[in-house]
């Protein structure tokens, strides 16, 4: 059996096991959940280390036929595009399980849902079969709604649950229509992604079919990723979500839509991708600039972080829209970096909420004195969030800028403004008002993360950001060859940097 089956399977099995553990065995419940996420994390590190960059085809592959008449099979495997995502997802899931100590009620159900979410999304990333790809994502998505609805916090909980459920279900539905249309139009009569791509190489989809399916996938997946203007579910949803849910959703689940675009839409609908690239590029200005401005006005730390996370999605879309190997590699790099970062920030804001009972920025201040560890970690997260070199996000963003500059110089300039100036403004404002300044007297009793066990999730996520920030080569060397394969379908004409001066300006 493939290591991938174990990575996705352990959490799902453990979820079943939890169902039979009595609910008052709290330590055991928690231990099982932590262990069932630790094992996949260790396996994912092993898989990442054994992965051979640029090898032909998929690695750690496994295929079991299921419904042969429709061409559905259980098919998992990794190449450069998803190997890093699975690693990131497994580490974030482990961190989320560790952070779940903040959940005090109905722990059993919470851990079951968390494990289902973990197994589902890791399985979705590993799937090379359209059916499982979609089904496993839905399996991970539904627990999100329940978790926000039951364990969410604040007055707006019900409205936020309602909104996020509505939005994401509709997004998933539109994407589903697109995928079914793709299945029917491709004529390959299989759900197997490699086979469909192979088939499409010989018989490309008609331009009209491409132009019909692409927007379905773009907006369906786009809604799942909070593409502007379909983003308003995200900050609010994350604002009320319990932090482990926010960590997993913002960090890992959200990347599904982007991954789907790169894995499915780019190679199968290359012509449509070319003609829609301009639209995507302009929409991502909405994410980067407009949502950046919105983030500047937020008075709640979680809403600020949520909006900033939406803004970061813009850089990924910009990388995809550039449709060259530099941009797409950068996009995948940011997907991974942002996964770690979003998980880290939501974990930290969750800690502060746990201690203070509020995330209103005006209520906080001077927390660095009482919470040196959490404060330093939050400071580093804020810096990573505004693109400081040394963190993986910078490597990704810089790469995307280089890739996008070739195709959209004007939009790249706007994106630079969003990354360097707007990001810098709201992040330093948040630091100034949350961590710096005098400490209000009521916070004198706050306690920092007490021991190594409590510090572990934050330290783990920070270390991941720093490792890939110092050595992005670890990721780019893996992503690069497969991004090129995807694009050889999407953009037969290889774009050269020097064309920036001659004609490619927009």
């Amino acid at each position: 059996m493939s290591i991938l089956t174990y990575i996705a399977g352990w959490p799902l099995l453990a979820a079943l096991l939890l169902a039979v553990v009595p609910r008052n065995y709290r330590v055991i419940l928690r231990a099982i959940a932590v262990l069932a996420t630790l094992i996949p994390a260790v396996l994912a590190v092993k898989m990442f280390a054994q992965f051979v960059p640029g090898a032909n085809g998929y690695q750690f592959e496994q295929q079991i036929p299921w419904v042969e008449s429709l061409g559905i099979s259980y098919h998992v495997g990794v190449d450069g595009l998803n190997v890093g995502l699975i690693l990131m997802g497994a580490i974030v899931a482990f961190a989320a399980a560790l952070c779940s100590w903040e959940i005090q009620t109905r722990e059993k159900e919470f851990y079951i849902l968390l494990l289902v979410m973990t197994g589902g999304i890791l399985g979705a990333f590993a799937s090379l079969d359209l059916f499982f790809f979609y089904f496993l994502h839905e399996l991970a998505l539904v627990p999100t709604f329940i978790m926000i609805g039951v364990w969410g916090r604040g007055e707006k909980k019900n409205y936020a649950t309602f909104q996020i459920t509505l939005y994401l279900s509709i997004g998933a539905l539109i994407a589903l229509i697109g995928l079914i249309a793709l299945y029917l139009q491709s004529g390959a009569n299989t759900f197997d992604i490699p086979k469909i791509i192979e088939h499409a190489k010989a018989n490309p989809l008609a331009a009209s079919a491409q132009n019909f399916i692409f927007p379905l996938l773009l907006f369906g997946f786009g809604i799942l990723v909070s593409l502007w203007p379909f983003h308003s579910w995200a900050p609010l949803g994350y604002g009320v979500a319990p932090s482990p849910t926010a960590m997993l959703h913002a960090g890992v689940l959200k990347k599904f839509g982007l991954y789907g675009l790169i894995r499915i839409a780019l190679p199968l609908l290359p012509q449509a991708a070319q003609s829609w690239a301009q639209v995507i590029a302009w929409l991502c200005v909405g994410n980067i600039l407009y949502v950046g401005w919105v983030a500047m006005r937020q008075r709640d730390l979680n809403l600020l972080v949520g909006n900033s996370s939406v803004a970061h999605m813009g850089f990924i879309f910009l990388g995809i829209a550039s449709l060259n190997i530099i941009g797409v590699t950068g996009a995948v790099l940011i997907m991974i970096a942002h996964g770690f970062l979003a998980a880290l920030t939501f974990a930290l804001s969750g800690y502060i909420y746990q201690q203070t009972g509020t995330l209103q920025i005006s209520e906080l201040g001077g927390l660095c004195r009482k919470l040196p560890f959490i404060g330093t970690a939050l400071l580093m997260a804020a810096m990573a969030g505004c693109g400081l070199p040394g963190f993986a996000n910078f490597a990704g963003e810089a790469t995307v800028f280089f890739g996008a500059w070739v195709k959209f110089p004007a939009i790249t300039i706007i994106a630079l403004w969003g990354a360097l100036v707007i990001g810098g403004v709201y992040m330093t404002r948040a630091i100034r008002n949350v961590l710096h300044g005098p400490l209000p007297e009521k916070w004198n009793s706050l306690a920092d993360a007490a021991n190594a066990w409590r510090k572990l999730p934050y330290a783990l996520l920070l270390a991941s950001l720093l490792i890939f920030g110092f050595a992005p080569k670890l990721l780019t060397d893996k992503i690069n060859p497969d991004a090129e394969k995807i694009l050889n379908q999407a953009a037969p004409i290889k774009l050269v940097a020097h064309t920036a001066t001659s004609g490619a300006r927009n």
């Binding site: 509505l166 919105v294 190997i325 500059w405 100034r432 005098p438 080569k473 940097a497 020097h498």
Partner: protein
């Protein structure tokens, strides 16, 4: 090249120090400070060893790939490589040498502080970042370290983060620098787009073959890159952050906001000098000249000892940038180096005074300190004379080289500005000097001031030695060999007499010093209050309030950006969310109502629909 591993060690030792301090020794203040001091001091020794083995007249690169995507033309290759030549060697000496002195001084200055370990971790982070800028062999690596010095400066300005003013100043410095970096990165992208490489050496070669074709885009690229220098070196209109940055501890002001980081902009311009065409240089020269003048005027009416020196730094940076623009990277780097000596000296001297005065910074509370603090007084005097450009102190030589360069370029306007600023510099520096060290004690604290401990005065003495002799110990020779082909190596005596080869700028410079000194002497010798506001009226108020730039920016850019943000937030809340959610909700609602019509509860209707369905299915299955 011998000892190739040394530059890597020099660069990474401070980073190691950061890691060790943050991970292990945060609890022990003394161990942490010793680790940090050890890292930079070892770096200094290694730099000396490396130079001793290789000399200055060589040029080499130690490349190492950081990130590579795609094939050479059109692909992205980013190296993490070190560029080793006279320019980077000299800067290595300045950063580790002056930096080392300041690290040692900090051991005394920060002795009482409870967060000393954190302070030294930040100092090491800064040293690492600054060394990275100095050694970078390509644009993106320089940008990486550029951002890192920005963040270490942010952390150190906000070191006493509980003080609201410190937090605000740190934020302001970060954002202002980010504005410059925005232009810098855009410039880098543009250069890469035009020439397909990021490596300085490759760019220089391909540009030499390409000058004509680039034309206007070369000017634009040059000016965009200059934006980075504008932010870091605090040039008009991004100069506003530097005076506020004095909220940081005084050694920080000496290291970052006088000797090294703020000079990074000038260094970068010299590093990429080949990229700047005549038009870009022209703009750079005037911005530099204007900054020099503006800051000198502001300095005249400040009363905080550190702020006076900060404005003086701004003004001197303006000089350097102007000189780069006047096609003179050699004199610019010369002045950068001597300025690092005497300005670090002045800041550390001011720090010594502040400690002696129990954290009083208002010069009108001081007075007659020369008797109480003799070592500080003596070294401060040397720094003052060097800054004003009195022969034979180092500032005299470097300033003279600048004035001579302006004249050589036939730019009489900027030459005039240079001379006038020299007079202003002497005036405000001696104003500070007389008020602080002469006259009578203006407060109780001044009467009870005490000299600082040896760990603080020794670095002062070391820096004073260089501030005195910096003009003729071969600094000009080394920079000259970098920028001028076949540069003549001068002996020490020749260097000492260099200004006399060109009498006119020297006489103008010395005349300016004399005028400034006389004015300062007549106004401030024995003065208890400032007589100038009464004489200058509104002008003095404007100078004191920094010509209202902060207020202007607050009222325009900041307000505008906040307003846009408010509008965006409002739209998000009421239009996007409302409209989209409303549509979906309404649509679902409508759908529900429509479907309800079918749910009549009437069995006959259901039976009818059922039969209709069966008929349809049969038609499709059989009928076709």
């Amino acid at each position: 090249m011998k000892y190739e591993y040394l530059p890597w060690l020099i660069l990474f030792l401070p980073l190691l120090s950061v890691a060790v301090i943050t991970l292990f020794t945060l609890r022990s203040k003394t161990v942490s400070s010793l680790i940090s001091i050890g890292a930079v001091a070892t770096g200094f020794v290694m730099t000396l060893l490396f130079i001793n083995a290789n000399g200055f007249q060589f040029s080499g690169e130690l490349p190492c790939n950081w990130l590579s995507i795609g094939e050479a033309p059109g692909g992205l290759q980013i190296d993490f490589g070190l560029k080793l030549d006279a320019l980077s060697m000299m800067m290595l000496l300045v950063v580790t040498g002056v930096g080392g002195a300041i690290h040692i001084y900090s051991f005394g200055y920060m002795h009482e502080d409870r967060s000393r370990a954190r302070f030294f971790a930040f100092m090491s982070l800064f040293t690492f970042s600054m060394l990275g800028i100095v050694l970078a062999n390509n644009f993106l690596m320089m940008f990486i370290f550029w951002e890192l010095v920005g963040v270490s400066s942010y952390l150190l300005i906000g070191f006493w983060f509980e003080k609201p003013s410190a937090g605000d100043a740190a934020k302001k410095a970060f954002i202002t620098n980010r504005l410059g970096d925005f232009g810098f990165l855009a410039g880098i992208l543009m250069v890469w787009g035009l020439l397909g490489s990021l490596n300085f050496g490759v760019l220089q070669t391909s540009l030499a073959a390409n000058t004509v074709t680039l034309g206007a885009s070369a000017t634009l690229a040059g000016l965009l890159v200059f934006c980075g220098a504008m932010g870091k070196s605090a040039q008009f209109p991004l100069h506003v952050w530097l005076p506020d940055a004095m909220e940081g501890p005084t050694p920080v002001s000496a290291l970052i906001h006088a000797a090294t980081m703020v000079a990074a902009g000038v260094y970068m311009l010299c590093r990429i000098f080949f990229l700047l065409n005549a038009d870009a240089l022209h703009a750079i020269a005037y911005i530099g000249g204007f900054t020099a003048l503006l800051a000198a005027l502001m300095a005249v009416q400040q009363n905080d000892i550190k702020r006076i020196i900060a404005y003086s730094t701004l003004s001197q940076l303006g000089y350097m940038v102007m000189t780069v623009g006047l096609n003179g990277p050699t004199p610019a780097m010369f002045h950068l180096t001597t300025h690092a000596f005497f300005k670090a000296l002045l800041f550390l001297g001011a720090g010594s005074v502040i400690i002696g005065m129990h954290h009083e910074q208002d010069i009108w509370q001081m007075g007659n300190l020369r008797k109480k603090m003799p070592v500080t007084f003596l070294t401060f005097t040397i720094g003052t004379l060097a800054l004003c450009g009195v022969p034979p102190f180092s500032g005299f030589y470097s300033k003279d080289a600048i004035l001579a360069q302006a004249l050589k370029q036939n730019n009489h306007l900027l030459f005039g500005v240079g001379v006038f600023v020299a007079a202003l510099t002497t005036f405000y520096t001696f104003r500070l000097f007389f008020v602080v060290f002469f006259g009578k004690e203006k407060s109780k604290a001044a009467a009870h001031a005490h000299e600082s401990p040896l760990v603080m005065t020794l670095p002062l003495i070391a820096l004073a030695a260089f501030a005195f002799a910096g003009g003729f110990i071969g600094i000009m020779n080394n920079y000259g060999s970098q920028f001028v082909a076949g540069h003549e190596q001068l002996s020490m005596a020749q260097q000492a007499s260099e200004p006399f080869k060109n009498i006119f700028p020297m006489v103008c410079g010395l005349g300016a010093v004399a005028v400034g000194l006389l004015l300062a002497f007549s106004l401030y010798k024995n003065a208890d209050t400032d007589p100038l506001p009464a004489k200058l009226g509104g002008l003095a108020t404007a100078m004191k309030n920094k010509f209202y730039f902060d207020e202007l920016y607050e009222a325009t850019f900041i307000r505008a950006h906040d307003f846009i943000a408010e509008v965006a937030d409002w739209m998000d809340r009421w239009i996007l969310e409302g409209a989209i959610i409303g549509t979906i909700r309404g649509g679902t609602d409508l759908g529900g109502r429509a479907l309800r019509l079918a749910q009549t509860g009437n069995l006959q209707t259901y039976a009818f629909l059922f039969v209709l369905g069966v008929a349809l299915v049969l038609y499709f299955v059989l009928g076709k």
